[in-house]
């Protein structure tokens, strides 16, 4: 059995579906216990990713589709947004998504502009993958980033 529940949406590359994706992700996030603020962050980050994908698919001149895959774990949500219509194998694509390289993603960054900046700020981990289109892979943990607990509390 997979250690996560997987939900996938496939929407036409049209701006009116950005809100639909956002609300769905908001619903999924509330199921795994994210706070109100974290859900709002997820809404913005996922909207930015879907907006970029919609615009990207659009400029390619195709009547494209955007695929949004969400993996729900006990303590985190992983969201993948792809601007190429083909459905992806979540695990396979996840394995292929490399570390984030500023130089390589330069063009995408400029294109995505403020949107990608917000994704990086609001999510805990972000990766971008170029192959047959652009795939954004982002993770948010329930209760904030998994950093080492600060065990050294203020001792007086």
């Amino acid at each position: 059995m997979r250690p996560f529940d997987y939900v996938e949406m496939r929407v036409p590359a049209k701006s009116q579906y950005v809100g639909v994706a956002r609300l769905t992700i908001s619903g999924l996030a509330s199921r795994i216990g994210f706070t109100f603020d974290d859900i709002e962050d997820l809404k913005i980050a996922s909207s930015e990713a879907v907006t970029n994908a919609v615009q990207h698919a659009y400029t390619e001149g195709e009547e494209g589709e955007v695929v949004i895959g969400c993996a729900l774990y006990g303590d985190k949500i992983e969201i993948m947004v792809a601007d190429h219509g083909q459905s992806f194998d979540f695990e396979e694509t996840k394995a292929k998504v490399g570390p984030y390289h500023d130089q390589e993603e330069g063009a995408f960054l400029r294109e995505g502009g403020l949107g990608l900046y917000l994704i990086e700020t609001l999510m805990d981990e972000v990766k971008v993958h170029h192959q047959e289109g652009v795939t954004v892979f982002m993770t948010k943990y329930v209760g904030g980033e998994q950093v080492e607990e600060d065990v050294e509390t203020i001792s007086s």
Binding site: G19, V20, R22, E40, S47, G113, Y117
Partner: protein
């Protein structure tokens, strides 16, 4: 997923009220309405965002463009009634320092 934009101008004072969600789908509506005023000289605009319950970079883009045009024509743009969520969006992008924004302050969101 919709937006309502009400704009009223008297003596170069532009009062605006925006209600709803500002995203990739609704931002063009807002942009179009604001564009009607941005090239006038010395417009003093005050836009009430207290009923905006969602906004992302597309909305920021519209406000920044409006702010730039109005400023270039010697006018001023003020955004009021920002929820803590909206305020945060302006702050993390650094726009909070550049633009004249006023949040609702006390707790709440």
């Amino acid at each position: 997923m919709n937006i309502q934009v009400e704009l009223e101008e008297t003596d170069n004072k532009l009062k605006g009220y925006i209600h709803g969600e500002i995203d990739a789908h609704t931002a063009p509506v807002l942009r179009e309405k604001l564009e009607a005023y941005q090239n006038k000289d010395g417009v003093n605009a005050e836009l009430d965002l207290s009923d905006v319950d969602y906004m992302d970079s597309t909305g920021l883009g519209v406000f920044v463009a409006f702010y730039k045009s109005v400023n270039a024509k010697g006018g001023h743009v003020k955004l009021t009634g920002l929820s803590s969520r909206l305020k945060r969006l302006f702050d993390i992008t650094g726009l909070g320092d550049i633009m004249d924004i006023e949040s609702v302050g006390k707790g709440g969101n």
